[in-house]
Amino acid sequence: MTDPAEPDLFRVPDLHEQERMVEAILFASAEPLGATQIEARMPRGSDVPEALAALARRYEGRGVVLMRLGEAWAFRTAPDLGHLMQREVVETRKLSRAAIETLAIIAYHQPVTRAEIEEIRGVALSRGTLDQLLELDWIRLGRRRMSPGRPVTFVVTPAFLDHFGLASARDLPGLADLRAAGLLDNRPLPGLGGGAGDDEAAEDPAVADDQADLFDV
């Protein structure tokens, strides 16, 4: 090697230079290095322990510290700055179709039982869907229905109203509004009094009252 950049190999560099060298070697190494391993890469006659000690002092209190790991040395992030190595990622995701529909049914039909939701959606409700909505604090348990089995009902929460910018559940657009907005076809649908699931509700005067509260303003 006659590289002019390497004259240092043949004279012992001063301690400051040795410190620079140890710093670069440790920085670039893919693993912690022991003093002898460092020595093997340094110019002959270098005092590696001395250079390591000087380097450790220099990094004291810095954002990165020179750590002794057993017999080996490595740079590591200062322990008090560990939180910088964590990134808070807030991922925004759209609610699933099942969750949206379930939420909509609860909002429009509240208080409504699980069986009624399934009846209206025409498919069984997975446990996760209600759990997710409960966890989001968008629905909560209402009073139990006074019917066989005394099933629990679900209603929407103030947090729901808040998220959707509604002053009250009454502000939800009615079916006529949905139809006017083109979201429903013009065919007269089995309205709130007619369709499946509403039958049960109709049998329950309490529900009918609730519905009236919600929609017939």
Partner: protein, 273 residues
């Protein structure tokens, strides 16, 4: 490089290559009779090498002399009956033309660029290629990552703590509800079992009753109590029981009679076999 070289100045090659971004990928076509003249990368590379032999600043290059050098070089190669890539020949023809123009006094009637302008452009191309080669060398001589300078050997991964935030807008909600309601309207017709009385049910019921039934009675009296109220349920039960009665009649277990169209249907003892 051995490819179908494009003549640099006569630009005919450009249009040919245009359809494909990466034209040289094609298998070497037969027309490319390639001779690697001492490793030159095309006519411009060869010209640049010849220009260097003039040992002058490229800006003061004698294009006339260069054209002569090139033509002599090509002649020499051809004397050895070595076939040349078309590019070299196109360049030779072009330089021969340029040379003739440079030797003649300018013709004021002639349109287009003067021979001096063309020669100057060729000189510019050679100078630019030379400059790019030097720039490339300077670039490669820089301290390079992974060779002269190094990155952190033990990078510390940044740990991501993920928080999910679920969102939905009022429109989603409305659309969701509309979807549910429309689905009702468009749902392919399927029996709603709750309101459907099956013939199997009716058969089972009637068989059970047959033992005790002796006289004639109306079909509707056979309907179970809970199926008589709601008209929809009543219709379904009536149909099921009628079908069951037909089946039992066929088997000779019961008899059926009706006094007039639309009169009540009556069930009684079957005709003995």
């Amino acid at each position: 490089m051995r490819g179908p070289h494009s003549p640099n100045c006569g630009r005919s090659g450009m249009a040919e290559r245009a359809p494909s971004l990466f034209a040289e990928d094609r298998p070497a076509p037969e027309r490319a009779l390639i001779v690697d003249i001492e490793g030159f990368e095309g006519p411009l590379d060869l010209l640049l090498n010849l220009a260097r032999t003039q040992k002058v600043d490229l800006r003061r290059l004698s294009i006339l002399a260069l054209a002569e050098q090139y033509l002599a070089f090509i002649e020499g190669i051809r004397a050895h009956r070595i076939e040349l890539a078309a590019d070299y020949l196109v360049m030779a023809a072009w330089l021969a033309y340029l040379k003739s123009r440079l030797l003649l006094p300018p013709d004021p009637a002639e349109e287009g660029p003067s021979s001096d302008e063309i020669a100057a452009h060729l000189a510019f191309q050679l100078e630019r290629l030379e400059a790019m080669r030097q720039a490339a060398a300077a670039l490669m001589a820089r301290n390079r990552l992974g060779r002269d300078i190094f990155a952190r050997g033990i990078p510390e991964a940044v740990e991501s703590r993920r928080t999910l935030r679920w969102t939905a807008g009022l429109l989603d909600l409305m659309q969701g509800y509309a979807r549910v309601r429309s689905r009702d309207a468009f749902r392919p017709y399927a029996f709603d079992r709750r309101d459907v009385c099956t013939m199997e049910n009716a058969l089972e019921r009637m068989r059970a009753v047959l033992g005790t039934q002796i006289g004639w009675s109306r079909l509707e009296d056979f309907l179970p109590e809970e199926w008589r109220g709601d008209p929809r349920r009543r219709r379904s039960a009536t149909a099921a029981h009628f079908a069951a009665a037909l089946e039992l009649t066929r088997q000779g277990r019961i008899g059926l009679r009706q006094s007039a169209p639309f009169a009540p249907i009556e069930i009684g003892p079957g005709a003995p076999r």
